[in-house]
């Protein structure tokens, strides 16, 4: 692409591989994916900690005494619904329909808030019963793992509201589309982590 014919009598010319121009934001998606993978490693550490410590109740409450699977099922449904509504938001975004995108984003945010409310209710209930993080190694690792996931959902919701303001102000411009696609990956990724949480923590905990 850069090489030009060199006349024979000139000195050899070295063509350094030029960093070709990238369209703005062209590498954002890959970069964000790499961030998600590093986030995945954080969760792997927390899962490993829970796997090691999850059986150490210190004569305190065990999963069976604490977990309410009905509540967890509702919570899982909330996160799954929020995933599909975010998908709908992406589809309407592709069609350039601002109002519909905003509406689906709002529905997603509400499902996210519902998830957080149920989780906080569960935590409050457990702490009220004396199952605090400092009670046993099981509870420490439980609150760390599930709390970290909840914190991610919280920040995802904050991000979602931020992007709704952005879209309201500037419309579905290229930058906003890119941001929405990043949040889409983040949001679906959190749902993937939640599959691990409800399987390894809640369902397997009840089987212990």
């Amino acid at each position: 692409m850069l090489s030009r014919t060199i006349t024979a009598d000139t000195e050899p010319v070295f063509h350094l591989e030029e960093e070709h121009a990238h369209a703005e934001g062209s590498s954002t998606m890959l970069g964000f994916w790499l961030y998600l993978m590093s986030d995945c490693l954080i969760f792997a550490m927390l899962f490993a900690a829970y796997g090691v410590l999850g059986g150490n109740y210190a004569a305190g409450p065990a999963p069976k005494d604490l977990f309410d699977l009905d509540l967890v099922a509702v919570n899982t449904a909330m996160l799954l619904f929020s995933s599909i509504t975010y998908g709908f938001a992406m589809l309407t975004m592709d069609k350039g329909r601002v109002a519909a995108t905003q509406a689906w984003l709002a529905v997603t945010g509400l499902f996210g808030l519902a998830f957080l409310s149920i989780e906080l209710y569960e935590f409050a209930h457990m702490i009220h019963e004396g199952a605090t993080p400092q009670r046993s190694a099981f509870l420490s690792s439980f609150f760390t793992l599930v709390g970290t996931h909840g914190l991610h959902v919280t920040f995802g919701t904050v991000w979602l509201v931020t992007l709704m303001v952005q879209v309201a102000r500037f419309g579905l411009i290229e930058a906003n589309r890119r941001r929405l696609m990043c949040l889409s990956m983040f949001w679906h990724f959190l749902d993937v982590v939640w599959i691990g949480v409800f399987t390894f923590v809640y369902l397997m905990g009840m089987l212990r």
Partner: protein, 125 residues
């Protein structure tokens, strides 16, 4: 091909998170609902008598559902970002497997072998 054309090749349309269709999102959603409902039902009703067998079945369902989410919601395929995102994913999965199996394996044996008598064996993970 000039530099401008080349840059356009790397535009967002070329790779990245491919856009799903309504059909792919709905397929993913229906599959996820089924793959979530069955393990919950298994554990809540105790349909399988053997706990260990239930645990294995539940884990298999989780693994399948993670793949479903990756394909239908995160639109993972070997072609996105020229294969780099798949490479990153595989690398991460290898690390995750090492971290999880390594921790569980080593710590289980430390617990089981290092302090005989101090632990109630029923509390072992």
């Amino acid at each position: 091909m000039n530099a401008h054309d080349h840059a356009a090749d790397h535009g967002p349309a070329h790779g990245g998170a491919a856009h799903g269709t309504l059909k792919s999102y709905l397929t993913g959603f229906v599959l996820s609902v089924i793959l979530t409902a069955i393990p919950f039902w298994l554990v809540m009703t105790g349909a399988i008598d053997n706990r260990q067998a239930t645990a294995i079945v539940v884990m298999v369902f989780a693994a399948v559902q993670i793949v479903v989410h990756m394909v239908f919601f995160l639109h993972m395929n070997t072609a996105s970002e020229g294969g780099w995102s798949m490479l990153a994913l595989i690398f991460t999965l290898i690390l995750v497997v090492i971290v999880l199996t390594g921790s569980l394996w080593v710590m289980y044996h430390l617990n089981a072998n290092m302090m005989p008598g101090l632990h109630d064996m029923r509390e072992m993970p």
